[in-house]
């Protein structure tokens, strides 16, 4: 049970972003910009970073959500599963492996990111901006994971939830204009409550 009262139909991060909307606004905008804004990293590559970090923080809600959206963006789930398990042997580019390694170091703590990891990424062709964005995404998901788990938010009861959530955030992390008063079961023809 969550540590504070949250709407039961809004599991994980979704209830928190509705609970305090003034802070949620810049959080959503930053997320949209860093994950869906212009970048030389694809949406899927950025979501792989989110998924790996969430997995390493053992945040079940965020891992499921960002693995689902990665699968939707890539058209298959295997790559994301393999990256979470061991990105060094996963079927991704050498540059992505190096960036995922930086993300994994940042997940442990900012001071754990090594010069050799950064050099490896640069040698594999990563730009400064890609390294910057990787660290920011990893840091942002340490935030999300801790926010979601620190308040002991609920997981969704419905196992199909994450697929629907993934379909929505594949497009946008913006707040749904009509808000989130109704649960998914009350509005079967609309997309689920989300980021």
């Amino acid at each position: 049970m969550p540590h504070i009262p949250l709407p039961p139909h809004l599991p994980g991060i979704t209830g928190l972003l509705e609970y305090r909307q003034d802070t949620a606004a810049p959080i959503r905008e930053l997320t949209q910009l860093i994950l869906r804004g212009e970048s030389s990293l694809t949406f899927a590559e950025r979501e792989l970073i989110a998924s790996l970090v969430s997995h390493r923080n053992e945040c079940r809600f965020c891992t499921a959500a960002h693995s689902a959206v990665t699968g939707i963006l890539m058209g298959e789930n295997d790559t994301c599963d393999l990256v979470r398990e061991n990105y060094e042997t996963a079927p991704v580019s050498d540059k992505m492996k190096a960036l995922l390694h930086i993300a994994a170091q940042a997940q442990r703590g900012g001071r754990y990111v090594t010069e050799s990891a950064v050099d490896r990424a640069k040698t594999a062709g990563a730009t400064d901006l890609e390294i910057h964005d990787t660290v920011l995404i990893a840091a942002l998901f340490c935030f999300y994971n801790k926010y979601v788990d620190g308040l002991a938010t609920d997981l969704p009861a419905d196992s199909g939830y994450f697929q629907l959530l993934g379909e929505r955030i594949a497009v946008s992390y913006g707040r749904r204009p009509e808000g989130y008063e109704h649960s998914l079961s009350h509005t079967p023809n609309t997309t689920p409550e989300t980021h």
Binding site: N57, A106, F143, N145, Y147
Partner: protein, 182 residues
């Protein structure tokens, strides 16, 4: 030396906001709303103290020194409270409520899943309301992000013992809040 080419002569988070102003804008809005927004039951000084405490636990010198200085400025004549808290909050001259909230913040920093019902119940027994609990977790989680961002890119940090620099920064943060670099 920073891991990437950042604007020179600017330290910490400011160098990152100067490097990528579009993300910096939202990060500064986030900090401003969180630490200065008017409707939190926690005072600005208390919020800065939680930020400094989490940054201290993450060993992020830039965030710890700057937010400790902001908290000292906001605590005014009780400014030394900040240093006592960072050293040993359980025996610091602060409310039992704030001690219980700092325990929650510390758990969010190390592993958020370890925040227990009894930790929250203890805070409530000392008068914490839902928003105290929520805002404490939100501040702690937010600084786990800022600390990783600032140190993960090895930004420039003035020496920890350069108190003149930190106090000037703290006074600016306490007076003007979070304004991104131009």
């Amino acid at each position: 030396m920073p891991h990437i080419q950042l604007p020179e002569g600017v330290p910490g988070i400011r160098s990152l906001a100067a490097y990528r102003p579009d993300t910096g804008k939202f990060l500064y809005e986030w900090a401003q709303t969180l630490l200065r927004g008017g409707d939190s039951p926690l005072s600005e000084a208390e919020r800065e103290l939680i930020a400094a405490y989490v940054s201290h636990r993450n060993e992020c010198t830039f965030c710890m020194s700057s937010h400790a200085a902001a908290a000292r400025f906001l605590y005014k004549e009780a400014g030394q409270t900040v240093d006592i808290v960072l050293n040993d909050y359980r025996n610091a001259p602060i409310s039992e409520k704030l001690k219980a909230l700092l325990t929650i913040a510390g758990k969010v920093q190390s592993d958020a899943r370890t925040v227990l019902d009894e930790d929250v119940a203890l805070a409530r027994s000392h008068g914490a309301v839902d928003r105290d609990i929520h805002d404490t977790v939100l501040i702690a989680a937010t600084f786990c992000m800022f600390n990783r961002y600032v140190d993960g890119l090895a930004t420039i940090t003035p020496p920890a013992n350069d108190l003149d620099t930190w106090n000037a920064m703290g006074e600016r943060m306490g007076t003007f809040g979070y304004v991104p670099p131009r």
